[in-house]
Symmetry: C2
Subunit: 299 residues, 2 copies
């Protein structure tokens, strides 16, 4: 948590503990042949990760005084989708990664079939969590959350972006295509986190423009920082294999812009993200801290 403000450090710690607690409840291991499936989900979901998306749900919803249980359960649903995507992306047929968050990936610690099913189960559980009235008493809020999450996870969002990322190894994408790819692959779920906070806060569509701009810019800055970490980071700190993009011959923000321009672009995006929060006072300081932190993180 290098360079995170004290307030952000406290918030990250609180959200991480809450997510671990929520996953522990959601993924209680049954005493039947599905034991390995649940253990695999727990392995991937508990005790690790930056919990950036849950933090964004929480920091946004707090602007509007949303109930803590509603926040925690919505954040849990988003993190279910994020964790499922990591499990599937790590599979041998996809990015073929052995380490994630400093631990063996699910298909390494268990097996491929269990990893595929653990991802599928977390995917379904996200929508089960959202649909439960414990997440929000108003069915209209729940179905809006559910639809927003489904679009962000599907072919127009995260999964579509992953498909483009696989194609990136075979083609030579330009900056516009890489930007679109990343806006889908990581940006869609980051935007969905902020949007979910606004939905919980019952912000009407026309009142979400600033928050949407914030989310888009933070998502891109986060990805540029990720590209820089992939090239220059410390594998022990990041907890996964690095320098994979270069080896795969994939165009990234870094390869297309060079290190200096990529850093500059990310700083510009962070400033722009913070500018989008102008209508908000100190209650949005956590969102501002998150924007700055996307560049300063070392994992």
């Amino acid at each position: 948590m290098a360079h995170a403000s004290l307030a952000l450090q406290a918030a990250l710690k609180q959200v991480s503990a809450e997510m671990d607690r929520q996953f522990d409840l959601l993924l209680a291991v049954p005493g039947d042949p599905r034991k390995g499936l649940y253990e695999a989900m727990r392995h991937a979901a508990i005790g690790g990760g930056k919990r950036l998306r849950p933090l964004l749900v929480s920091a946004t919803a707090q602007l509007f005084g949303v109930d803590r249980t509603c926040i925690a359960r919505t954040a849990l649903a988003l993190e279910c989708i994020h964790v499922y995507s990591l499990i599937h992306d790590d599979l041998p047929a996809m990015d073929d990664d052995d380490m994630r968050r400093g631990k063996p990936t699910v298909h390494k610690a268990f097996d491929e079939a269990t990893a595929i099913l653990a991802g599928d189960c977390l995917h379904a559980l996200a929508f089960e969590v959202i649909a439960d009235e414990k997440t929000h008493p108003d069915p209209f809020v729940r179905i809006e959350l559910s639809g927003t999450l489904a679009v962000a996870a599907g072919p127009a969002g995260m999964a579509g972006g992953q498909m483009m990322d696989l194609e990136a190894e075979k083609s030579s994408f330009d900056l516009a295509t890489v930007t679109r790819l990343q806006a889908m692959k990581t940006g869609a779920l980051i935007s969905c986190a902020v949007e979910s906070g606004a939905i919980l806060g019952r912000v009407p569509i026309e009142g979400r423009t600033g928050l949407r701009g914030y989310a888009r810019d933070v998502g891109l800055a986060f990805q540029i920082a990720d590209d820089i970490l992939d090239a220059e980071g410390d594998e022990a700190l990041v907890g996964k294999k690095l320098q994979k993009d270069g080896e795969a011959g994939k165009e990234t923000f870094l390869s297309l812009l060079g290190l200096e321009r990529a850093r500059e672009q990310a700083r510009m995006l962070v400033d722009q993200a913070i500018e989008h929060l102008k209508p908000y006072g100190t209650e949005a300081d956590l969102l501002r801290d998150i924007a700055r932190y996307t560049l300063e993180r070392d994992r």
Copy 2:
């Protein structure tokens, strides 16, 4: 469609055409690097399959005079889940099947990464379709459909059943465990189809007992018939590799009961399913025909 009544034949034909039409609209191929992903989804989703789950949604909802668009879109969502599960179940790490519905499986026609993502996308699209107000104007109906589908797809339903099925190759399950496995693996989504028809029809929970009994019995009868087809069916008609359970040393209804008792059990379940429909008049004849057809089908 051997032995299907004329009314059932007409309904199957109508539902199949409607599902192909819905998938064609849902899966319009974009002119970008996701082209292969959409083609893979279309390969799996269009022009094949018995469309049993959409038919059950439709036949149940018709009891209550539900609007045709609501029925078609809800049926589409269920079939998205069913098709995604077939794509993932066929993967080399899972059941490792080369043929499905008389065509190469998705990972054979495309590649494994595309198959994983095509399944993931159909999974998300199911919840996107349900959340859209075109599916039903009342958000309460949509969120109930969504939650019911998520539970049926997840670790307590279809995906949990598939995990138990993989374990079945390593263990020697008794009849109670095989029954539970199948009630989850195929039964959960079949039950969800009937339940969705009742939700669209605004049938309160206490009014669904008969329909739930019907769905449970039809689901089990269907699975016993599937086991018998696996042992005795014609590969050309069924369109996939057969006799896999025996080779894998898996216990099934057939291995545990023997052919004669398995047939008898399935007939008993069909009679019982029809008995559950006693409160309904001729308007439930299609549901009765579906129950009988589960045993008589040759594919």
